[in-house]
Amino acid sequence: MKIACFHLMPYRDLEDDFEKKYKSAWFTLPFSKVADPRKVSQYYNWTLDELTFAAQSGFDGVCTNEHHQNSYGFMVNPNMMGSVLARATRGTDVAIVQMGETAVFLNPPIRVAEEYAMLDSISEGRLVAGFPVGLGGDFSYSYGMAPMEQRGRFYEAHDLIKKAWTATDTFAWNGKYYQLPMVNIWPQPVQKPHPPIWVPGNASPSTWDFVIKNDYSYCFLTYFGAQGAKHMVNGYWDRVEALGRDRNPYRMGFLVPVGVSDSDAAAERDYGKAIEYFYHKGLHLPEHLLAPPGHMTHASLTHLITKRPFPPFEATQQMGYKEFNKRDYGVFGSAKTVTERLLDIVKTLRVGHLMLLPQFGSLSHEQTMENIDRLSKDVLPHLRGVWEGEGWVDHWWPSACAERKQKAA
């Protein structure tokens, strides 16, 4: 199994009564009213330090991601972060996992093809190219495009980027959303035909089909914990089989907030406040802002409203540490406990790419570094071999990382 360190880059010092004073932590929250730019400067540097430390300590990859206009996580251009990380990890076998720069937010989207190719060059072939559809609110409220265009733009941007990466000559692109007279990107990526593609998602069946048909790896990013994810992940694997693909666990990624302490009891003291901050403040996001009208297809909207597959978003606001931990919204405890529970999650959901979130909410830089250290020393070594013996090959891992690992061994 590959284990990557994920980071959201949140605002870590919101006031205690923040969620009572403001309607949302997303889109409408004024930066100037709640945020201190000097602190933000420190957060970006801490984030880079934490991810670099994870890379040095034994994680297989480092993950960045893109969101806008919120205190939950504001790496507005993950490639700027990825670029620093690529350089900081030069010569290692650590993958630079961009989860990722969101093509539909940019016009023209070949900017993503160019930046990813640059990152693949700087990292000397260690890039994982994430292709998020993007959050509806980011796309339509922050970036001003009609909700109903998001999926169409996503599919077209994907086709355009792949063609730009692999074309041997200049071509014209006459799409529904994008028209370009001369596509001829410099550079093209180091990895051939292109870097491995991972698609993050939140259980949308149309995204599953896109991933499986294109033979990509899917990353399930859920807010509702591993236990609640089970029936959705089963739906993904059923679809994998229905479309004639194998049950290679590396087709599946999963993200978990995680905290390691001396004992299970100590974990509440160490991480309780921070995970409550993460859910109560970071995800203080009224549902009507999450997905603007038109973001979902009529079929998905009907499914969501008539079947109600998710618990109400606001429900997490009423939950506390004990329940988050019990229901796997995060995994906290001694190294032994965390290892056992992560193994259980990984096996149950059939995860080949595990993404751990060692910094969440208000967790301080020092605590985060210690958490990364404990994870690297006391947990990761016991997880890595979980799929060994089944003979699966990770086709979605940068070949340069695999080769370097082999050489080092």
Partner: protein, 267 residues
């Protein structure tokens, strides 16, 4: 109350079918609904006693036809589709009325095909922009249920408002009601996102029909200052401000609205 017939009308060279509600007798009156969707209400019903009312569903919002919106990419497609609709219905000249989102479309259609429009009624139309009175599609899409009530109504306890805005009691019907509401906002939003300032100001001088601009004095969604703005850019316009009224005059001030509209259309 009359029960309108549904007519299916091919437009855009057959690429799209519009579902048009038709009721009444007399000279043609075309009504374009708001982003809240089409309702055959008392206001339209009364008008159908004097006119033959044609009220198309905006594409995607007709019952059972959500995918129709895929045939429409932008505002230009929309106005072309409604222009085609007039031909398909064999309407040479008509009175044209639109509410809010439909008001913007009505103004665009009247600018696009001025000679076909004899009288124009715009009820709290969107489509113009003033820096001192900003509004965006998010002003009605990014709201929770309570905020929507505040944005739309002067008196949320008005019986007609309660009747329109209370979800049905059965779970199944309430789900469908919610799906339709969200989907209708999505469909209408597609052609005006993110701000409905799409160049009407450059085209509105072409409107030749005498125009009645109606606004609720207490409209919290689209500022009433736009009544004056429309009157200024239109060649021949009169303004009717309705007291104790928000963004939905057909619900909150129906008798006053109907009287003023009837006398304007008849003159």
């Amino acid at each position: 109350m009359a029960k309108p017939r549904k007519r299916i009308v091919p437009v855009l060279g057959g690429a799209l079918e519009l579902t048009v509600n038709v009721a009444g007798k007399g000279r043609p009156l075309v009504f374009l609904h708001s982003a809240g969707g089409f309702y055959w209400d008392d206001f339209l019903d009364e008008l159908s006693e004097h006119y033959k009312v044609y009220a198309p569903h905006f594409p995607g919002t007709a019952p059972g036809r959500p995918e129709d919106i895929d045939r429409l990419d932008n505002l230009w497609d929309t106005i072309t589709a409604y222009d085609d609709m007039l031909d398909a219905l064999n309407i040479k000249k008509c009175r044209l009325m639109g509410h809010s989102f439909g008001g913007m479309l009505a103004a665009e259609l009247a600018a696009h095909r001025p000679k076909a429009i004899e009288k124009l009624v715009l009820i709290a139309p969107i489509g113009l922009w003033r820096e001192d009175a900003p509004y965006t599609v998010a002003s009605w899409c990014a709201l929770d249920a309570d905020e929507i009530m505040d944005a739309l109504f002067y008196d949320r306890n008005h019986p007609d408002v309660v009747k329109r805005m209370t979800p049905p009691s059965s779970r199944k019907a309430a789900d469908l009601w919610q799906i339709n509401f969200i989907w209708t906002l999505g469909c209408t939003g597609k052609v005006i996102w993110p701000i409905p300032d799409k160049g009407l100001r450059k085209r509105i001088h072409r409107v030749s029909a005498p125009t009645l601009v109606v606004w609720g004095e207490n409209d919290n969604l689209i500022p009433p200052v736009y009544a004056t703005e429309f009157a200024q850019v239109l060649k021949d316009a009169e303004v009717c401000m309705l007291p104790q009224c928000g963004h939905e005059p057909p619900l909150e001030q129906r008798p006053a609205l109907a009287a003023r509209v009837q006398s304007f259309l008849a003159a």
